[in-house]
């Protein structure tokens, strides 16, 4: 298993063939000629308490993913792309098995990422982005984009594309919805997104938001329940929306 079997030109041709035919024979060949490269990347992480064999296995999976996802038309060299993918896999492995703090990467998070990317791309491309556009933008797999899109259905959220009862403008622009008056917000903003953003707020601020937008109480009703003035509720709401908007634009 060594890269010397094929010239760079032959490898490029093989990638082009594989992209169009998706024959596993071609994929296997591409993986085979890059195995030593993958091990080379993995070896940088040696002597950190993970057996070399495990490292190589993780690197191999990363290599398979890289071969399957690599698009030669994007102009980057395969080794650049694969190096990053493999390194990512190995680092993830270290994170999962040797670090105590594990970063949660839920489907919901994916969903939010896809939603955010969709908004950004609508502005950038001036059209609705394709799955491929979003995948490239987020540097994730097309399948993951589809999964992120599917997650919105799973979480039972109202679609951003269905304009709320109070909305006179396009409801797809979430940032605008958030920055407009709170009446409009109630009808248009993606509930799931809000729910997830809310976890970043202080408890009382969250309660106020929930009473206002989920239970649809008026500011004075909220004021009575929480035990502050209506103006206070108004300020709390404004401040929370500000904070949510900030999180959203990150």
């Amino acid at each position: 298993m060594s890269g010397s079997e094929l010239s760079p030109g032959e490898i490029a041709t093989l990638f082009a063939t594989y992209r169009s035919t998706r024959q596993r024979r071609d994929r296997n060949k591409l993986v085979e000629v890059h195995v030593s490269f993958a091990r080379f990347i993995a070896n940088r992480f040696m002597n950190r308490g993970v057996p070399t064999e495990d490292l190589h296995q993780i690197a191999l999976l990363g290599l398979v993913k890289a071969v399957e996802r690599f698009d030669p038309n994007l102009g980057a060299a395969f080794t650049t792309f694969a190096g990053r993918t493999i390194e990512g896999e190995v680092k993830r492995y270290f994170r999962d098995f040797t670090w105590s703090a594990r970063v949660p990467r839920s489907a919901q998070e994916l969903h939010l990422g896809v939603r955010r990317a969709t908004d950004e791309l609508i502005t950038k491309l001036e059209r609705s982005p394709t799955v491929q556009d979003i995948a490239m933008h987020l540097e994730i797999d097309r399948d993951d984009v589809v999964r992120g899109l599917a997650a919105s259905a799973a979480f039972n959220s109202a679609s951003l594309d269905s304009a709320g009862p109070c909305s006179s403008r396009s409801a797809t622009d979430r940032t605008r919805a958030l920055s407009s008056t709170d009446d409009r917000l109630a009808g248009t903003v993606d509930r799931v997104l809000v729910e997830s953003l809310l976890t970043g707020l202080r408890e009382r601020d969250r309660t106020v938001i929930e009473l206002r937008y989920f239970d649809e109480l008026s500011q004075s009703e909220i004021a009575e329940r929480v035990g502050v003035s209506q103006m206070h509720v108004s300020r709390l709401l404004r401040r929370s929306l500000e904070s949510l908007r900030e999180q959203l634009s990150q």
Binding site: T21, R22, Q23, R24, N28, V31, E32, Q57, L60, L61, V64, K65, D96, R105, S106, A107, L110, R142, D143, D144, V146, R147, A150, A151, A154
Partner: protein, 124 residues
């Protein structure tokens, strides 16, 4: 209780992504974590690609993928129908390595391969 989901598709590599997405969707529905989903997806991809290759080599027109879904594990059975008794799905070395890495169990049974993946905290 076991939920049972079946897909049937032509022997074209074009639809492997549909199977992967279905696999990911099922796992996501059961709230398996992202690492599980990623590995499961990879395993299913390998399974289906292997079976499609074998099916083509034996002039079978369609393959089927069955998901047997339990709360703590998902089993996938992928295969094709063949009149010939000696027909066996061949697993190449790379596929073997991938399946070893991502599946808790797998085995070839003639024109069928089964793959089992358990929820992480259910592993013994």
């Amino acid at each position: 209780m076991i939920d049972y989901i079946r897909l049937e598709l032509p022997t074209s590599s074009r639809y492997t992504s549909t199977v992967r997405i279905t696999a990911a969707g099922i796992a996501a529905e059961l709230d398996f974590d992202v690492d599980f989903i990623e590995e499961f997806r990879m395993g299913v991809n390998e399974l289906v690609a292997l079976v499609i290759d074998s099916a083509r080599a034996h002039d079978a027109a369609r393959v089927h993928v069955d998901f047997l879904v339990e709360e703590h594990a998902i089993e996938v059975v992928c295969g094709f129908d063949s009149a010939r008794a000696d027909c066996v799905v061949e697993v190449d070395e790379l596929a073997e390595q991938i399946l070893d890495a991502v599946a808790d169990e797998y085995r070839v049974e003639g024109t069928t391969i089964r793959l089992l993946k358990r929820r992480i905290n259910e592993r013994v």
